[in-house]
């Protein structure tokens, strides 16, 4: 055997292997060719549809619901009214559907009357933060228990944060967190013998604010920026430990309808004051149609090196029942889901 022949045959074998490997791996995928198809399988009186899809391109898609029992049949609609006896805990199940081909970790926290509270979750003890890990396409119900509340009317909203451990400073990741990677469900609760739900009188925000004018780009939403009334998103910043970091929370009603909203700043998913020297951790606003404001805010930077996550929650219609009351269809034009701001990566060096 001479070396030329050996080289030729090895090269031919390698080429054959490469061609066959490419053929079965699907690599020669042609852009524009169908990435999905739908088929129907009829059996008896029922038809089950199935869809094939490119699982590598399915991004965020998950659902959450609060249940009264451990099965999905125990579902009631969003902001369902719950009644509990005085001195009793509020118990329920958080149902989560990870509608993705990837396994995912979610951070869970809850706001009672728009203040973050420790609560029991999934039989793992009481805490402010809880985490769940879900397999691809897993659907599960997790028990939770909220400590007894004072008699009267309350709101409890439970939040799920997807990718809580992602701290990339890449701009595209930061943009992808805008109004995304967060889900929540709210319930209105009556404790005691009250006949109906009464929204407590709210202390509206009366701190400093700048009018951005009705031409400002926001409509029924929130944007975190460096300068007030700016349109340039604040994505990340290099910061000094233990210093004060200033930023602006810009909020706007739609030009065609008013909004009521609670604004809640979070640092590393823990609720923090709007600004140093204030205890206000939640700001309530009622904005007229076309009213756009910029709120000066700041946060004390942690001492720990690494990337810390600053996020501001936009929680619409505090103490309103969003689903149950048919009048709401006519009453509320407002976007009825809580939304997160872009997660701002604060890089402590």
């Amino acid at each position: 055997m001479n070396s030329t022949n050996l080289f030729f045959f090895l090269a031919l074998f390698g080429f054959s292997f490469t061609l066959i490997a490419l053929g079965i791996s699907g690599l020669p995928h042609i852009e524009g060719s169908p990435l999905w198809s739908m088929s129907a399988n009829t059996s008896g009186n029922s038809t089950v549809y199935s869809t094939t899809y490119d699982k590598n391109k399915v991004s965020e898609s998950f659902g959450v619901t609060i249940l009264t029992g451990p099965t999905k049949q125990d579902e009631t609609s969003q902001t369902a009214l719950r009644r509990i006896g005085a001195g009793k805990p509020f118990e329920g199940y958080l149902w989560v559907s990870n509608q993705m081909a990837q396994e995912n970790d979610f951070l869970v926290f809850g706001l009672l009357d728009y203040q973050q509270i420790p609560f029991e979750f999934n039989n793992s003890g009481r805490g402010i933060h809880h985490t769940i890990h879900m397999a691809p396409f897993e659907e599960s119900a997790y028990p939770f228990s909220i400590p007894p509340m004072t008699e009267g009317s309350h709101d409890f909203e439970i939040f799920l944060v997807m990718k809580p451990d992602m701290h990339s400073l890449n701009d595209s990741f930061r943009f992808s967190t805008d109004q995304a990677l967060l889900g929540s469900r709210r319930v209105n609760i009556i404790v005691g013998n009250a006949q109906s739900f009464f929204a407590p009188s709210l202390k509206e925000y009366d701190g400093p604010a700048i009018s951005c004018g009705s031409d400002y780009v926001l409509n029924d939403g929130l944007l975190v920026t460096t300068k007030p009334c700016d349109t340039k998103a604040l994505l990340s910043a290099n910061v000094i430990p233990d210093s004060l970091f200033d930023y602006s929370i810009n909020i706007g009603a739609d030009n065609n309808y008013p909004v009521s909203v609670a604004v809640v700043p979070l640092l590393d998913f823990y609720q923090v004051p709007l600004a140093k020297n204030t205890n206000d951790r939640t700001a309530f606003f009622t904005l007229n149609a076309g009213e756009k404001l910029s709120i000066p805010a700041n946060v004390v930077i942690p001492k720990d090196a690494g990337v810390h996550e600053l996020m501001v929650l936009w929680i619409p219609l505090p103490y309103h029942s969003i689903d149950d009351d048919a009048r709401n269809v006519a009453q509320h034009h407002q976007w009825p889901w809580s939304e997160p701001s872009i997660r701002v990566g604060l890089n402590v060096q």
């Binding site: 292997f17 089950v48 399915v58 898609s61 998950f62 619901t65 943009f175 889900g183 976007w335 939304e339």
Partner: protein, 186 residues
Amino acid sequence: MNLHKTFFVLLALLLAGMAIVPITSAESSEAGVTTQYLPPQEGAKFTGANPDKDIGVGGMLKTRIAAQPVKSAFAATADAPQWSAYTDLWRNWWSASPVYCDAYSRSRTSSGSAYDINKIALRERVWRDGALYNDQTDTRYNSADAVVNYQYSAVYTGGTWTAQSDHTFELSGYTSWYPVTTDTLT
């Protein structure tokens, strides 16, 4: 000759090995969400753009059959609606063209008719070089469609444009769906 034999033995072993290895591809047969980056010809059906001339026509389409929470999470009965979420950023072929962003949430029967659901909505945000240019919502109750169309016209419309839409589909008895669709245009 020994060399030839060696080659064919190796090739035979390779092929035999492949026969017992599960063949995989980029697509999964698992039922659920469909994500599609539409080619221009398909995208133009949604936006009215000229697929042969206009730029960036296509966009992201996500589709799923509404699922009921039964044993198989994504089994769906014949009367379940088909939900689709779409965002497309595009511009005309001439240089001073406006930039358009068309986004919708849509609920249909298997035959393509409107299928009203409890809540259908979308929030569309359009960014240009990191600055927010449009923020718009459309929330509908007992409806089959939510739509946001945006158009930006100026002497210069260059830069990197990004759009992200947050969609909502809620129907009693079915698993709610909250997909996010995105598109870019440079």
